[in-house]
């Protein structure tokens, strides 16, 4: 069966102004990213700040159309759609962000926030009402609280409301961009459980983005690791958790708090250059080399002159590295 979502060679460039105000390539935020997502599965994306995951998401949702590459949803290529068709297509894909506070209008009662999506679809008031009740039930918010304002709810509850709002369009595909990062640990578990239940009940497909490797490893079926605009490793979550191959993935793993055995024994690397590493660094141009070469413990000359492609090293397990 064809994958539900196919991303092929997605590129997103941002331009600045060069001499004589000519358009000059400033940064390639997403560099030929390709992956597939199958129906009713969770695809996880891991990366640190500045790796381009937010830009990638915006491109997929066509909020900021990609510079080149193809996005197919259920066989339809988004680039071929007119803006009118795109608008109705968008209903099938929704996004949940990290911060429920900025996602909800503080001056709107939550039932009105939910109704917004429904009003646009021209439902009669009674039907709208019924749907709002159902949505609140689905996410575990008491319907008696429907006339309250966002500030009257806790962080976890607000996030549930944001999820409910994303669902009022009846999407097939939900992008979850760090949906639980701002929440307390015990609430995180509640929201994750909710997302699991919803996925089963409504046959949803998820793109789940997080910096929490542990969480993504648990929640996803397939997982990709992104570094400076490129995917460096792509495999089933099981595979990656058991056997991470790319040096960057391994570094992420070893940095995971709680997984280290003897933190005191590690080398004194914080004295020097490592401060710039992965710290908001953006690839200046699409360099024809492995972008991780500078910090890679096993890199060599080839890594600085040739660009590794994402290659299959085992069944379904792909990495972009010459050395692993």
């Amino acid at each position: 069966m064809d994958p539900f979502i196919e991303i092929k060679n997605l590129v997103k460039d941002f331009y600045g102004r060069g001499l004589l105000n000519r358009r000059k390539l400033a940064v390639r935020a997403v560099d030929r990213v390709s992956f597939d997502i199958h129906r009713n599965t969770v695809f996880g994306l891991v990366g640190e700040s500045g790796c381009g995951k937010t830009t990638l998401v915006r491109s997929i949702l066509y909020l900021d159309p990609p510079t080149s590459g193809e996005i197919r949803i259920d066989g339809t290529s988004l680039g071929n759609l007119s803006s009118h068709q795109l608008r109705s297509f968008r209903k099938r894909m929704q996004i949940v962000f990290q911060d429920p506070n900025s996602a909800l209008n503080p001056k709107m009662r939550i039932e009105d926030s939910l109704a917004e999506g429904l009003v646009n679809r021209r439902f009669p008031a009674a039907e709208r009402d019924r749907r709002i009740k159902r949505l609140l039930d689905l996410v575990g918010i008491a319907t008696t609280h429907r006339s309250r304002f966002p500030h009257e709810f806790s962080g976890g509850q607000k996030q549930r409301i944001v999820i409910a709002r994303a669902l009022c369009m009846e999407p097939d595909f939900l992008v979850l961009d760090e949906p639980v990062s701002n929440l307390d640990v015990s609430i995180q578990a509640q929201i994750i459980n909710l997302l699991l239940d919803l996925k089963k009940e409504l046959a949803l497909t998820y793109l789940f983005i997080s910096h929490d490797l542990n969480l993504v490893g648990y929640f996803s079926d397939r997982l990709a690791v992104m570094y400076q605009g490129r995917l460096v490793e792509l495999a089933s979550a099981d595979e990656i958790m058991r056997n991470p191959c790319h040096p960057y993935t391994r570094k992420l793993f070893s940095s995971m708090p709680g997984k280290n055995t003897a933190i005191g024994e590690a080398e004194d690397d914080d004295e020097n250059a490592n401060l710039e590493s992965s710290d908001g660094k953006i690839a200046a141009l699409s360099a024809a080399c492995c972008t991780y070469a500078d910090e890679c413990p096993i890199g060599d000359r080839q890594c600085k002159t040739d660009e590794p492609e994402l290659m299959e090293i085992a069944d379904g397990h792909r990495i972009a590295c010459f050395k692993a």
Partner: protein
């Protein structure tokens, strides 16, 4: 043994701290009798979820709580043989920044955008240690080196927005330890940082602790981070410490149901597809603390006595303390 003698052993000895806030929607019981003991050279983690009182505790030690809405009902904060709560504002101010340093969560917000990094470091040196500007600047350079930014004059002359997140956090650490304080309070210093940076910052803190023989009070909600860095851990819930133990005691044998459930709710990649063990309900508001054991409405083991009385703090051996009536009688199954 008198309280004075016992207090001498610890760098920081918080005894029965009880703090309320008078707010419009009612009286908020932020801390309901908190006990924390920290020794020099120890990294003591204070773990809790939002609203549990961990930030109020740190602010109270520093004397940064606004005392009109806030009120200390009882308790002592004994630091370097003095009860900080008995000092007047000027004396407390002298302790801040000099003997106790503090670092915060989001360095972007906690640094003054209008002043250079160098100025923000040297002002402590000039005020507390009475250094002259030139000496202070050289000293600041050394501090930058200590925190991993190198002897970098460019950084000294930079404004906060010109630095990356990790560099800003290191700069903030340099400011906090400038006067070589005996105690460092770190309030979620790595929460806003990338994973790879987190580890570097944690290592840096440990290194500085060794070098200056400091004690660190490390506040966090992240059990993974705490596992990395802590020697001792106190778990705070609704303004009370419900368990206190060494790192290995807590992770290998958690006694309090809340601690146990917290540990169990962490996702495990081997259990994909299974629902997580989430704790139902939410942390109670400080205005609405449940009677008796504040955790009982959410506790799967709760009995009547849990509602009727506040469980006392009991030592179960080797300094492992917990406050629950049901320890030894009922268990949470893994």
């Amino acid at each position: 043994m008198t309280a004075g003698a016992a207090a001498n052993k610890y760098l920081l000895d918080i005894q029965d701290l009880d703090v309320d806030f008078e707010q419009q929607r009612g009286l908020a019981q932020a801390l309901r009798g908190v006990d924390i003991r920290l020794q020099t050279g120890e990294t003591h983690a204070l773990v809790g979820e939002s609203g549990s009182g961990k930030t109020v505790t740190s602010m109270c030690i520093m004397g940064l709580l606004a005392m009109p809405p806030g009120r200390v009902n009882r308790g002592k904060i004994i630091f370097q043989k003095r009860d900080l709560l008995q000092l007047n504002e000027n004396e407390r101010r002298k302790v801040r920044g000099k003997d106790i340093g503090m670092i915060f969560q989001e360095p972007g917000k906690y640094l003054n955008p209008a002043y250079k990094i160098g100025e923000q470091i040297t002002e402590s040196l000039i005020l507390h240690l009475k250094m002259k500007k030139k000496a202070a600047t050289e000293n600041a350079l050394d501090l930058l080196n200590l925190v991993g930014l190198g002897k970098n004059r460019r950084v000294l002359k930079s404004y906060p927005h010109e630095l990356s997140g990790g560099m800003k956090q290191r700069a903030m650490i340099a400011m906090a330890i400038a006067c070589h304080p005996a105690l460092l309070i770190a309030d979620e210093p790595t929460t806003a940082l990338d994973v790879t940076l987190q580890l570097q910052i944690l290592r840096l803190l440990l290194k500085l602790k060794e070098k200056f023989a400091m004690g660190i009070l490390f506040i966090s909600h992240d059990l993974g981070v705490v596992k990395e860095i802590a020697d001792r851990i106190s778990v705070i819930y609704a303004g009370k410490i419900i368990e206190s133990a060494t790192k290995s005691q807590l992770f290998e044998n958690p006694l309090h149901p809340y601690t146990k459930l917290l540990l169990l709710s962490i996702p495990d990649a081997t259990k994909r597809g299974e629902r997580l063990r989430a704790i139902p309900g939410t942390v109670p508001d400080a205005e609405d603390v449940p009677p008796g054991c504040s955790f009982h409405p959410r506790c799967p083991l709760a009995e009547d006595e849990c509602r009727d009385a506040i469980p006392p703090d009991i030592d179960y051996g080797d300094g492992h303390q917990a406050a629950c009536f049901l320890i030894g009688r009922k268990w949470i199954h893994s």
